[in-house]
Amino acid sequence: MATPIHVPRINNNDDEVKLIALEVAVGDHVDEAQVIAQIETDKAVVDVESPAAGYVLAIEGELEEMLVVGRVFVWLGENSDEKIPEPSKMARDQKISGQTGTPTAKARALLRKHGIDVSEVPVSGDRLSVVDVERYLQSQNRLPGADQTDTAVKSREMKPAVTGKAQKLENVERGMLSTVIWHRDVAVPGYIELAYEQSAWKEYAQLFAQKHGLLLDPLLSVMAWRLVEIAMETPRLNATIWDAKRYEYDQVNLGFTVQAGNNLYLVVVQKSDEIDELSFVNKMVDLQRKAAAHQLKPDELENATIGFSSMSRWGVERHVPILPPHTALMIAHTVNIKGEGVLGASYDHRVLNGGDVVKVLKKLSKPKSQVK
């Protein structure tokens, strides 16, 4: 059975302490009385020793983080693959042992914000902390927008057996990590594709470029615009699942993948549904230029509600895109070796079924009308 190590109280005046050093990592074996961490208050620095020998199963705290006294911050096990208790089991155990856990002020505010009764949330220490509430919200899939990346990764991954050097991820890489973890942990992804005859779209793009005097081929931009139109006609495509309901967005924020050097960006045209086709195409050019210069602003990279990606420039036959967080549909465009266009779609099966997606792909396989 996994053994919790609680954050010790150093003095009566401090309900929180700072974690200033971690001497172990998940997967390490520790001996009884081995120093595993150092914590600090305004007055003292104290070593935290392991109460028993065992393997580190989980670490629930980060360097420089303020930890609530009494909460669990390390789990030990007799074996390295032992499971740590689920929140519900912790709650039962705590009821049996008579612990109640008065919420801290911040935890109380968070409970109020989400309309949660204190009795619902398992307590990991002397008092119910923000970490407890966040963990509970996460277990209930009720924490959208929060960066769950670290928790999600650390809770599943063991330290590799082969020695190596840990490299800190850059912001773009952290964003990608967050995206793929949402896709893995929250969405229920499916993938469908169909081939289509390219000539109608090529002709449309050529006429559009001529009419508006464009140097750059607008093919992908006008196809992405068509997706915006389809999303406006069918709100369930521009949606996610929230609180066991389909959450249809009030605006269409079209995310579009742009590879710039080693970075893959998902640039976002906010409120695409409020601009016309030419403005959309020009906005796409602006965003792609900024991406190429690595000068995108945060609001140009966030809150996509639907996505479009193309790998035709690399000549790949198929790519299955990762769904951006809180989206239900990501179109994947390419051209196969026969010269046919290929439209694929990753979709969240919680929101859409295969029939919905086939209809989208068929609509998207040709322009809606003549160039306006």
Binding site: L215, D217, P218, Q259, W314
Partner: protein, 89 residues
């Protein structure tokens, strides 16, 4: 940095070769007056990457409306545009 027309064209051509190489194309045969998008060596995204590099390398700012065939469609045009922007022509 040399700003005579031949040197500018050589620099730009080297960048195009680099971008095209990433796409599996060999652009070493690109000529001064070839229409760059029409050669098929690089696509629109590659062209945007080229424009971003052009602005940064030569320290100039180009408005989206200036991204036209006349201004940037060939190596020769790109060199002429730069020399005008730098007050050299």
């Amino acid at each position: 940095m040399k700003l005579d027309k031949a040197s500018i064209e050589t620099e730009i051509k080297n960048k195009i070769i680099e971008i095209a190489d990433g796409l599996g194309c060999d652009a070493t045969g690109l000529q001064s007056d070839d229409i760059i998008p029409a050669t098929g060596f690089i696509d629109s995204a590659g062209l945007l990457e080229l424009v971003a590099w052009y602005e940064s390398f030569y320290d100039i700012k180009i408005e989206t409306a200036e991204i036209t065939i006349d201004n940037l469609g060939t190596l020769s045009a790109m060199a002429d545009f730069l020399q005008k922007r730098k007050g050299l022509a």
